[in-house]
């Protein structure tokens, strides 16, 4: 009798297991791929001077808009600069803007969200109406107008992005605070005499980190996209600094002549945004409680 059971089990296990294992690999695979790509791009940004074969601003007016050659793997742009080098250096702008803008948005947004959620009442209402107002204007439009208003240069693009970006974080953490606020351990802290700020930072914040991390990762992707879009339209870094969006704009102008010009920068923008979205997705799945309906052991 026992032997029969054992015969059955291995066969059954493999049938059930295939799906479960597939799931594990799948989820982790996407996030893993994203992580790899993201790391490569960050390294590209950091080590640009060592990787790039040429000075990105070195012009060679005898060798304009060449296609890929042995000397210039991606060809040259309209004033003879090596495209590969420009694209490599372009990662610096994108990564820098992405990281800085996201960090600033997250810091400001989390702080405001904490206050809003914890204080409640009028403060909360006012802050929420402000976020509603700001979020009425879609991202790119807001950034364009803001950046145009503040003046040229990449710093202003960052400020513009942050002026919009803090809202998302504020809302997320506020939601977290609202749900955590009524829990017993918060009351216990209050009973012991802990003040508002202490409670917020020591108790509420650590318990809300998960969604913030996920949001930050996805915001990073979105920020890179915003910067590239603004650059494509003409805002952002000043020439001659290379930026993916700007290179793509030039490439578009010469699309028929040198199609490769348009492929490289666009591919990298996509890769950057994609990688952070993959990672964010994977993180979200990992940090969320298991979807119900699976593994109920009752």
């Amino acid at each position: 009798m026992t032997n029969q059971t054992q015969d059955l089990e291995p066969r059954r296990v493999s049938q059930v297991g295939l799906r479960a294992i597939g799931r594990a690999i799948l989820r982790h695979k996407l996030a893993r791929v994203g992580l790899v790509i993201a790391t490569l791009l960050i390294c590209m940004a950091i080590f640009a001077p060592f990787i790039a074969p040429y000075d990105p601003n070195e012009q060679d007016l005898y060798n304009v808009l060449s296609g890929p050659t042995a000397k210039h793997w991606l060809g040259t742009d309209n004033v003879g600069r090596d495209l590969l080098s420009r694209v490599i250096y372009g990662s610096r702008v994108s990564m820098m803007v992405g990281v800085v803008a996201t960090a600033m948005s997250a810091t400001i947004g989390v702080f405001i969200g904490l206050v809003s959620g914890y204080r409640g009442g009028k403060v909360d209402m006012v802050i929420m109406r402000i976020t509603d107002t700001v979020m009425c204007i879609p991202g790119l439009v807001f950034v364009l107008v803001m950046a145009a208003a503040l003046g040229p240069g990449i710093n202003n693009v960052i400020y513009a992005i942050v002026a919009l970006g803090w809202c998302g974080f504020a809302r997320i953490i506020r939601g977290q605070v609202l749900s955590v606020r009524e829990q017993p351990f918060v009351e216990a802290s209050r009973a012991v005499g802990a003040g508002g700020m202490r409670i917020m930072f020591k108790h509420l914040l650590p318990n809300s980190m998960a969604p913030i991390i996920v949001a930050a990762t996805i915001t990073l992707g979105g920020t890179i996209m915003l910067e590239a879009s603004a650059a494509f339209l003409g805002l952002g870094v000043q020439p001659p600094t290379p930026s993916w969006g700007k290179e793509l704009r030039t490439g578009y102008t010469y699309l028929e002549r040198v199609p490769l010009f348009s492929i490289a920068p666009g591919l990298l923008i996509t890769a950057a945004v994609l990688s952070f979205n993959f990672v964010g997705d994977g993180l979200r799945d990992a940090l969320d409680p298991r979807l119900r309906g699976e593994g109920k052991k009752q």
């Binding site: 059971t5 059955l8 089990e9 059930v16 799906r19 479960a20 699976e294 052991k297 009752q298």
Partner: protein, 325 residues
């Protein structure tokens, strides 16, 4: 003497989780007669709910699977019939009432729609007929003003009332068996009594058999004809309510009885909790799964798993030791 309604033989249901294989139900056999009320008792995780879900083949796959066993109902092995055929049984011949009334009803459909659904499906009633019948059913479960209530939404009902709706839903097609999985656990104590009495009356009036799954020994004592005690996926003792309460023979059953306060005990009597931790279903110890916590365990208990042995007219126990000695 009533007829045999349900005969379960060596049912085994397993779940493949990330952490390993869980043998949630590991060789469960029992029978049930028409009109009988059977109590299925045990602590959380012992496999009682999984057993019930297995009866209707409602085990989600993945990650679960019924790997062995036979479930004889109306001359058919429910585990062998087709998908279409088992669907005809669900909600029709066998109905189930779940534990969480707050989430077991669809929030965007009216009460009437939800009660009428099995009526339209299995009894082929028209929409109007089914709605009329729903109103009647609401009356049976003692929800007044059925005509207006039928158009209400679940969120407008309290937990106790929602559970009555679930009962009404279950009764609609006049099933031979109703399985109630912890029907009152989520409710207030006063409501619990009302609800159970209602179920008992209805099953008596309709001649329906009832399996009540619970960890509440009080319910079982009052309402069940027979009781199966489960531990770590197996049944360790079977008997009438009197057998189990008056003459428990399995160490686990003894422990359960001793850990619950009783009105006939002296106030000063200490409650004896069962030592040890609930079993880790991923790593079941060899031999009898209760042996780590058993004060009567002998050498054999660590080596061989005991089978159920008859010790009375309806009383069986799976233990190597006679604890009376």
């Amino acid at each position: 003497m009533n007829n045999l309604l349900l005969n379960v033989k060596n049912l085994k249901t397993q779940f493949l989780t990330d952490d390993g294989l869980v043998r949630a139900v590991d060789g469960v056999s029992f029978d049930l007669y028409e009109g009988e009320t059977l109590g299925l008792v045990g602590e959380s995780g012992c496999g009682k709910s999984v057993s019930a879900l297995s009866l209707m083949r409602l085990i989600p796959n993945p990650p679960g699977k019924i790997v062995e066993g036979e479930i004889w109902f109306e001359n058919r092995d429910l585990l062998q019939i087709s998908e279409d055929e088992i669907r005809e049984v669900r909600g029709n011949k066998i109905a189930m009432i779940f534990q969480e009334p707050m989430t077991s009803l669809n929030p965007v459909l009216t009460i009437g729609r939800q009660i009428a659904e099995p009526l339209e499906l299995h009894r082929h009633m028209s929409k109007e007929q089914a709605l009329g019948e729903s109103v009647k059913l609401l009356g049976q479960v003692q929800i007044p003003e059925g005509k207006t209530r039928v158009k209400a939404w679940p969120h407008q009902f309290s937990g106790g009332m929602r559970q009555r709706v679930m009962i009404a839903m279950g009764l609609g097609c006049n099933p031979k068996l109703i399985i109630a999985d912890e029907p009152t656990t989520a409710l207030d104590v006063t409501i619990q009594a009302q609800l159970l009495q209602l179920m008992k009356n209805l099953t008596r009036d309709y001649g329906t058999a009832l399996i009540v799954i619970t960890h509440n020994l009080g319910i079982v004592a009052r309402y069940a004809d027979r009781v199966n005690v489960m531990y770590a996926g197996r049944i360790v003792e079977k008997g009438t309510a009197r057998d189990i309460y008056g003459d428990p023979r399995h160490p686990y059953t003894v422990g359960l009885m001793a850990s619950v306060p009783r009105l006939d005990q002296d106030v000063k009597t200490k409650l004896l909790p069962i030592e040890g931790q609930p079993p880790d279903l991923l790593h079941v110890p060899p031999g009898c799964s209760f042996n780590p916590r058993c004060r009567y365990a002998i050498e054999k208990c660590h080596q061989e798993t005991p089978e159920l042995v008859k010790i009375g007219e309806k009383h069986e126990v799976a233990c190597w030791v006679d604890i009376r000695k």
